[in-house]
């Protein structure tokens, strides 16, 4: 699968033209990770935006250490094929807020976020479309998160 085909299959890039996809493809590369590997860790510089080509990735948040219990991680999302993750790369202060763990052997398309941000500045349509699609994606995740919260609180009452 070419990087351009992979970008076209990703919901976020659906509205992009061939030439726009080509520009993003030029700053992308394919990375492979074994199961259990961390694609990125929270607190590190968010210099890469990812599109999952194959496999499954869990996004985990570190809960703060308290005297009551040892620090632990909680999954807040599972990324499946053709989905984008590592949004922190587009949002200041450009530090990952979550840890991404591969649940299976995984192949990702890694987009150089520093160059992508420059591209978004230079080509305002690319910048607008990318942020527009990203906001839609984040809103849908927020909606799902609300449903999870409601169903789990309902289940415990």
């Amino acid at each position: 699968m070419t990087t351009k085909t992979s970008l076209r299959d990703c919901e976020v890039f659906k509205t992009f033209s061939e030439s726009e996809l080509a520009k993003i493809s030029d700053i992308s590369s394919v990375e492979e990770q074994p199961a259990g590997a961390a694609v990125f860790r929270e607190g590190t510089d968010a210099d890469t935006l990812y599109v999952l080509q194959d496999g499954k990735v869990a996004l985990q948040m570190q809960l703060p250490d308290t005297q009551a219990r040892a620090p632990r991680r909680v999954s807040v999302d599972i990324v499946t094929r053709n989905e984008m993750f590592g949004w922190s790369a587009l949002v200041e202060p450009h530090r990952y807020t979550l840890m991404a763990i591969c649940l299976e052997p995984t192949r990702v398309l890694a987009i150089n976020a520093v160059r992508l941000r420059s591209l978004m500045e230079e080509d305002r349509r690319v910048g607008y479309e990318l942020l527009h699609q990203l906001v839609r994606l984040v809103a849908s995740r927020l909606e799902e998160t609300r449903h999870v919260l409601i169903s789990e609180r309902g289940g415990l009452s």
């Binding site: 990770q33 199961a35 259990g36 094929r81 763990i101 649940l103 052997p105 449903h147 999870v148 789990e152």
Partner: protein, 240 residues
Amino acid sequence: MRGKTLRVVVASEDPGLRQMLAGVAEGEQGAVVVGRAENAVNAVALAARLRPQVTLVDSELPHYLGKDSVRLSRMSGLDAALSISRELPSAATVVISNSRYPVHAGESAGNPQLIVYGESRAGGIPMTLRELVGATSPGNISFGGLRIREEKTDAARLTRLADRTVLGGSLALMGGLGLMATLLFAGPGLVVAAAGVAAIALGFIGKLSTGLWRKRSKLSDEKLPQPVTRDIESSSGGKL
């Protein structure tokens, strides 16, 4: 370890997958399923109470309640596995993720096999539960999937093909004999009947070969296990 009972807990919201996870244990001598959980809360509680040597956890496990319209309601498999591993550090805990080896409900009567993912991206390593326990480092978890034994699936496919060939041959034989009975088309009828006989013979040879292949596959099924467990806290990918 050999000879002692191996206690296993399985966790999946899907009854079909839960049955297949249990099938892995049931297919291994001396392994017994002591608990089945349908969500993360119950999986952690069962593991803490029953102290299994092996826990197989579906990666798409709901924390408490899975809702079909809410994809994010099924993401607690890894959390449950990490909790169980903290509670039982010397036990083997495996997060099962099956998108690489998709299995279907109709195959649940087959012979599910545990595949544990190794360091390379390609494929996984078939392991017995005892081999897995032996390869597990304290506090680590493993990642794997289920697979229906390939030789069974392929053998079943070949058997089906052979059956169809015999059926097709029988129909051709009958058709050929019918044509011969008309006397007018006796020549072509003879050819069709002969082709039918050949197809029947080919089908039976196919069935015989499949049977022999099954026996050979069973004998060559032994594979050497590799240590493939991971400590998530120190885990890192290529760029970190």
